[in-house]
Amino acid sequence: MIEYSLLITSAVLVGIGIYMASTKKNLLKIFIGIEILATGVNLNFISLAFIKYGELSDALANSIVITSIVIDGVLVGVGLALTLLVYRRYGTLNVDVLRKLRW
């Protein structure tokens, strides 16, 4: 049963991540949401390794998770840099000020 609870946990994390990225207005919160999403995905790898092989440390899953964490770091790093630029330019983190590009 524990394995499915792991799966469900990661699914919940993914859900929260996507929800935050979709609905939050604050750019920082959006990127926090993306981080949560990434965590959920990584947890999913580990939990599936656990289901598949009965242990938490499958070499493939581990290497993917480690790589993925690095990649998320870069992604969020770039994202935060852009957030900083937005803040400098518009004086707010509200993503709704970015409405010039439409139609």
Binding site: G17, I34, L37, K52, I64, I71, V86, V95, L101
Partner: protein, 498 residues
């Protein structure tokens, strides 16, 4: 000639481009000279093309297992990869040349060339990656550098906004893709294409929720990159906002990375569940085609118009893809790949020509550009060739691939798709011709004056891609044969699924 192993050689050649660029950037202190860093990439990708086309590499397929973990990391250089490497490298050449002039005023030029190099390296990487793990790593290398490139001119409103939107949407999509990969891992136990195929072969046509779930996650993950309905929203912002050479790369080849992923890694899932996914793709194709064309119709911003037309062309490529999902893998994918190539050429040429316009006139508004063709016939001429190719007028490449797509749809009994294809290509021709007419047949307005001459590298990049358009238009088999080889390679790979 090979250095280590053809697979590594390909990666080394494209990987050396950003590395050498970085090293050279240390020595070139003079800002004026930094722009010539573009030649590193130009030469690098010429070498890559020559390398790929040499007889030994072109006629053989190679495989290589990287890590010791069984079924985890594999590279392959086969007909499929070689086709896409060619597509990517051919468009890289004029883009690099174009950048030399186009970007000369910008800050951080060394960063620019390194990022372009990394992005292309990522693209080359995903073509040779034979498992989802390696694929994902290269995918992210490509994606993250493209985010930065979109926002490269971050001191302006538009690129900044576009980059924020792009990174959020595309970043979430990448993670959704990874979520899908995790389920594939859980199902198949490994991530190489072989193990995925052997797992799917064992499923035997039964609908399993995890498989469906993973497949639909793929559909979203790749779909955001490929920008089909309703996942296109980032594209019309990001592509026009980027510097024009980057727009050419993004519209020309980066969105094709999504198609590549769909064709190689996601198609097996769709084929197994063909009954379910076929109507989904049918609907997506029809909606993508129609909506994108409708949106393009009323644009005044020339780059935005081209961006919408990219979405419409993804719709065209999806015609072939839908045919493939229906089971006609070789003809469907062959025509889709042919269109990948011709659209890369045509849209690349269009964006580069628009880059020329921006360099010379500094406006993207079509209404202000009226009569531009009379001032700079050469730039407008290349734009015209590109637009005619995109609109599918013979004897340009776009005509052949659209013809093939429609033919493949008819062949698969998909008269609805064929009909929509024809209607939409007529529809697309409307705004291309309209654009053409305004550029050429109107009298130039007062403020539109010939301000400066066409710079040499920009001009030669336009000449180059114009010649490529004509050459591939006159000898369409140069496109069709490798595309068909790529498609039939995939078909033979997926043979176990039928």
């Amino acid at each position: 000639m090979q250095l280590v192993n053809p697979i590594f050689d390909v990666l080394i050649i494209s990987g050396l481009v950003p590395i050498i660029t970085t090293l050279l950037a240390f020595f070139l202190k003079d800002r004026e000279k930094l722009r010539y860093l573009g030649f590193v990439g130009f030469i690098g990708y010429i070498i890559l093309i020559i390398y790929i086309l040499q007889d030994f590499v072109w006629t053989n397929n190679f495989e290589l297992t990287l890590m010791d973990i069984p079924g985890s990391s594999k590279l392959a250089l086969n007909d499929f990869s070689k086709f896409f490497i060619l597509v990517f490298s051919i468009l890289a050449l004029p883009t690099y040349l174009h950048s030399i002039n186009y970007m000369e005023e910008d800050r951080n030029l060394s960063n620019y060339y390194v990022l372009v190099g990394v992005m292309l390296f990522g693209l080359i990487g995903i073509t040779v990656a034979d498992d989802l793990f390696t694929f994902f790593v290269f995918w992210e290398a490509m994606a993250i550098s493209s985010y930065v490139l979109v926002g490269f001119r971050y001191h302006l409103d538009e690129p900044l906004e576009a980059a924020v939107k792009y990174i959020v949407i595309s970043g979430v999509a990448s993670l959704i893709l990874l979520y899908g990969i995790s389920f594939v891992y859980g199902l198949a136990g490994a991530l190489t294409i072989d193990s995925i195929l052997s797992f799917l072969g064992g499923v035997g046509g039964q609908s399993i929720y995890p498989v469906l779930f993973a497949a639909s996650l793929f559909m979203i993950g790749f779909g955001v990159k490929a920008a089909y309905f309703p996942l296109w929203t980032w594209l019309p912002d990001a592509h026009p906002a980027a510097p024009s050479p980057i727009s050419a790369l993004l519209s020309g080849i980066v969105i094709k990375a999504g198609i590549l992923g769909l064709a190689k890694f996601a198609l097996p899932f769709f084929l197994v569940e063909s009954r379910i996914f076929y109507p989904v793709f049918l609907a997506i194709t029809l909606l993508t085609l129609t909506v994108a064309n409708l949106m393009a119709l009323m644009q005044d911003d020339i780059k935005r118009l081209l961006a919408y037309s990219s979405i419409a062309n993804i719709g065209f490529i999806l015609i072939g893809y839908t045919v493939a999902v229906k089971g006609y893998v070789d003809i469907g994918l062959a025509s889709a790949f042919a269109h990948v190539f011709t659209h890369a050429l045509g849209k690349g040429a269009a964006f580069l020509a628009v880059g020329g316009i921006l360099y010379l006139i500094h406006t993207r508004s079509i209404s202000k550009l009226e009569g531009f063709g009379k001032l700079y016939p050469s730039v407008a001429g290349v734009l015209m060739l590109a637009l005619f190719s995109l609109g599918g007028l013979p004897p340009l490449p776009g005509f052949w691939s659209k013809w093939l797509l429609i033919f493949s749809a008819v062949e698969a009994g998909e008269l609805l798709l064929a009909f929509f294809g024809v209607i939409n290509s007529v529809f697309a021709v409307i705004y291309y011709i309209w654009l053409f007419q305004r550029l050429f047949f109107s009298e130039p307005s007062e403020e539109l004056k010939k301000s400066k001459p066409l710079p040499p590298y920009l001009g030669s990049s336009l000449l180059m891609i114009g010649i490529l358009l004509l050459a591939f238009g006159l000898y369409p088999n140069l496109i069709y044969e490798p595309a068909y080889a790529a498609a039939s390679f995939l078909e033979s790979l997926f043979q176990t699924l039928f």
